[in-house]
Amino acid sequence: MAGSVLALAVLVVLPLAFLGWGSVTADGRLTLANFRDALSSRLYVQALRNSLVLGLATAVLSVAIGLPLAWAVSRTNVPGRSFIHLTAVVSYLTPPFLTAIAFVNLFSPRAGLINRFFRETLGMPGLTFDVFSMAGLILVTVPHTFPFVYLLAASALESVDASMEESAQILGASRWRTALAVTGPLVAPAILSGALVAFVNAIALFGSQAIVGLPGRVFTLPTRIYALFDYPPQYGLASALSLIFVGLTVAALYLQRRYLARRSYVTLGGKGSRPQLVDLGPARWGVFAFCVAVFAVTVAAPYLTLLAVSVSRSWGLHFWENLTLQHYRFVLLEYDVTRRAIWNSLILASATATLAVLLGSFVGWLDLRTTLRGRKLLDYVSLIPLGLPGIVVAVALIQFWLRVPLPIYGTLLIILLAYTGRYVPLGVRSANAAFRQIDPSLEESARVTGAGWLRTFCSVTLPLARPGLFAGWLLVFVPALQELSASVLLFSSGSITLAVAVYNLYETGALGPVAALAIVTMLIITAALALATRLGRGHGGAGIPRGERGTVAQ
């Protein structure tokens, strides 16, 4: 207990407190000047407005894409449903900066491949598209946010008890009427909640906003905060802007929680049967075409582009005439910065995932299996980082560790602290879910049989929770490996990470190596997923079907 409290204090509470303190002080005196500056300067008001526009547009588009996909997959006989599902999952896993860089290669005003095709080959400059704009920013952000709407809406649509819809139909309601009067209200909270999560994630994505926004002078809160760390750094103003940013995020998450709470009645259906699938007839090919289009834009275009860039000597309309592996040789063997970055990120991601799941297990176990005072508070505190964008976590850690006489600034350790703080909610949630599905009686019967606390934990609790904890580990590992928002403020040349290396290479204009490194990043993520899926499955060879475990430990 004491350990968990200490860990959460160092990771979350103290940095936040220092962030707050830093925002209301200047030269050691209490003042509101920072907030006044933040809210009166046109620079920052514009950034706030841009962040809001980006968030709202992204949320709306995420619903426009995610909801039809969710409906198609869970309610219709559209062909290729697992392919559609995979599209959403891959989009979700793809590092956002990767998509941004890919679209820059296609749509940068002068060198973009598609723009050049329209201008030079077709002679129709009117059809070109400038990616360095708000529209471009939205285009590269949506692929990472529509999966939130998709996943939440699909699970809600699937959990609606068929009998609820059937009772409307038997009373004479048409299919559309039923959808509007019964299904819609039941799943609306899930959709809204997905939209809000999309909003929160969209405005926090530093990578896309820096790569696409900065060249087009579309400034947002994260990029403004980032710019404040240029020499001379303005810590106070950065802290104030960070807190305003947190306020925005927390407000959205608060709304989302309220909607989710209302959602609970969807699952109350209990043993109901699955809803009948809608037979779309020939229209299903139209729906399928829409899904393919989404796949083309969110998955195929970015990956194929990066792959092509990474193997071509010079990027242009005839790139296939000069294929090469030199960019891969460069980033993997020759350039020591990228080699170091790959190792650093692997170490950081593994350590972060382990720490987050470990800490999550302690917090979850304390919450579920003990009656210690304050365990609920511990659980809440561990969720705070959900409301903290990565760049804010970095600002808070800088504020804290600059004032503490421990020289960890500029080391891997401070990045590890930032990552662990950011991702501890994922660890806590996974551990909590993993322990929750183990009925206490399974542990109690080990106790009665004569096993002590530790023995019970090792031979009953842990083996049963293992798949869930592994999933949690992966859930942290994947985003930690591609983390940019916090690392970009905290790295030094020795502690450079994969995403920062990609970003730095991008700024120098080395597009080939950037693409190669992006592909390498994706390969590492894929390998980690495959490995962890294999390790996390089964108990010493003889697996137990998930459903069965549910019935035993109800």
Binding site: D439, S441, L442, E444, S445, A446, R447, V448, T449, G450, A451, G452, R455, S459, V460, P463, L464, H539, A542, I544, P545, E548, R549, V552, A553, Q554
Partner: protein, 371 residues
Amino acid sequence: MGAVGVGRGASVAGIQIERVTKRFGDVTAVRDLSLEIRDREFVTLLGPSGCGKTTLLRLIAGFMTPNEGSIRVGARTLSTPAAVVPPERRGMGMVFQNYAVWPHKTVYQNVAFGLEVRKVSRADARARVARVLELVNLAGLEGRYPSELSGGQQQRVALARSLVVEPDILLLDEPLSNLDAKLRERMRWELKELQRRTGITFVYVTHDQSEAMALSDRIAVMHGGEIMQLGAPRLVYTRPANKTVADFMGLVNLLPGRVLRASGDDSLVAVGGAHPIAVALPPGAVVGQAVQVAVRPESLRLTAPASGAGAPGTVPGKVVEVTFLGNIIDCQVTLDDGTRIRAQVDSGRTLEVGQTVGVEFDSRQSSVFSA
């Protein structure tokens, strides 16, 4: 069941529960409760959900600390508010309502776990597991995982797991409630037989009164965290201590009445419109007092209508409903004062709706509670 050879140690395993109270926040789940369970006895804690029976069982198991009182087994004090011997050092067995069979271990691994914890040699463990699996009719299923077993088989694994360590005391928390009716009946016999053969002290929790009656040496009927009545099944059924017990132990008619004569076993109570019946009164009852007479439907006899005043113990009535149930006939009779009672009679009888009958009360099968 199979071969003998699973038993228990020679120690005395009576349980003394003394003035135990357990509170959860503002709710008192067990209130100042005392109970002495004798060595080798089969005692059932019976009551509706929320009566505190499972809490009491978990207090005995050591999963909870009492707020007041003590629990001892033989000379050993196991639970006081100050100190609780943890469950793993009590040497008891426990069978849970949902079986709690570990899904990641095979049948063999489940059963052998307690022996591993006790560092029993591998060969010895193998023999003991084989013996106990035979006892519960699971021989041959050692390598199966719980997900490959039926509910009844999982239940037996849970039993075997508890029995293999030869506990002196076995705690069972509604172990049959998740089984279907037929299997439940069969497992009842097996449990009873097992208890007789092993001599293990059984403490059994259930809300099913017929299960309690079939199995127990004594039943403790619980309500509101207290024991309402403790006694042999027959006694609790025929002479319930109060209305709550009477009501919980099966179908019962509760008739309003008035005391006519109060002199011990020779007392009279008027029911059904001033018709006297002979019953035993609770102590302290006085003439003229309003009371309630509890009588079970099968304890009533229907006779031909009595002529004139009739003998004490027979009350005139009129049949208003007849339901044929196969082995018995269930009928509703209205007495002169409009009270409706339910009687169950031999299915050989012919009864018509509208027929007038005499309802005969047996003084030994009727109880009187103050109204």
